[in-house]
């Protein structure tokens, strides 16, 4: 894929993160000011959010967008160090494999916790 295409998706991922992570930060860090959840990191709040389809889907979307945006940004910073072509390829593949692993793990957790309700009932 061309670098300009990768850069375009980097900006799109940033826009997606702005909305979804903004919502996440509002729930986690502005909850008292906004009058939302009173204990966002307590088990009851966590499981209540995790077992709603809306949050499961948005967590997975946010995970993918944040991993792509972050790892591509970090790759861009490293590439400015005037690295050899072989090193650039190695970094690209490491970030791709690492990013995919983290995405698969995070998605598995999101879906498994969502389905915990069905197991319990």
């Amino acid at each position: 894929m061309r670098e300009s295409t990768l850069w375009f998706w980097h900006i799109i991922a940033g826009a997606v993160i702005l909305v979804l992570l903004g919502l996440h930060m509002a729930i986690m860090h502005l909850d008292e000011i906004l009058g939302l959840y009173m204990d966002p990191t307590g088990w009851e709040s966590v499981i209540a959010r995790s077992q709603q389809g809306f949050f499961m889907v948005t967590y997975i979307l946010l995970l993918g967008a944040a991993l792509y945006h972050g790892l591509y940004g970090f790759r861009t910073i490293l590439f400015e160090l005037n690295l050899r072509k072989g090193t650039q390829k190695l970094i690209t593949w490491l970030f791709l494999i690492g990013g995919l692993f983290l995405f698969v793990y995070g998605t598995y957790v999101a879906i498994a916790v969502y389905q915990m309700k069905e197991v319990a009932s």
Binding site: I11, G14, A15, I17, L18, L21, G22, M25, H29, L30, D31, E32, I33, T41, W43, V46, I47, S50, L63, A66, L67, G70, L71, G73, F74, I77, E80, L81, N82, R84, K85, L102, Y105, G106, V109, A112, V113
Partner: protein, 144 residues
Amino acid sequence: MAERANHYPNKLGLWGWLGGGRYGLERYAYALHRLTGMGILFYFVLHIFVTGSRLGGAQKWAAEMGFFENNLFKFGEYLVYAAFAYHALNGIRLGLTELGFLMGKPTRPLYPYRSAVMRQRPVLIVVMVLAAVLIIAGGVDLFE
């Protein structure tokens, strides 16, 4: 030594990456944007594994949260939130600039010259003020 294909000579080395010339306000903002981005990325990778502990049920989750229930981690969490507030708002400005929205129409280079940098500087000021408001609000919410 033969030059690498498609690269200019980079005699500044690591210093060129950290701050190679006369930086203006926008360049410092961009440098802070990159620093906050790397900080958020580092935290995010750990966050994926920490939040994965909710698979283990209420007790595992409580134990995990108990480990982080001290002032050092609370302050670190606040720094991550502050980094996000800055990175997100400055990112909006950078995205708009990247797409050409804050640059104005190109003009002939006739005196008095018009600078695209000064055209988007008010946006930088607004973004910094908004980021400061969000950071203060987050501090009030977290530490009170």
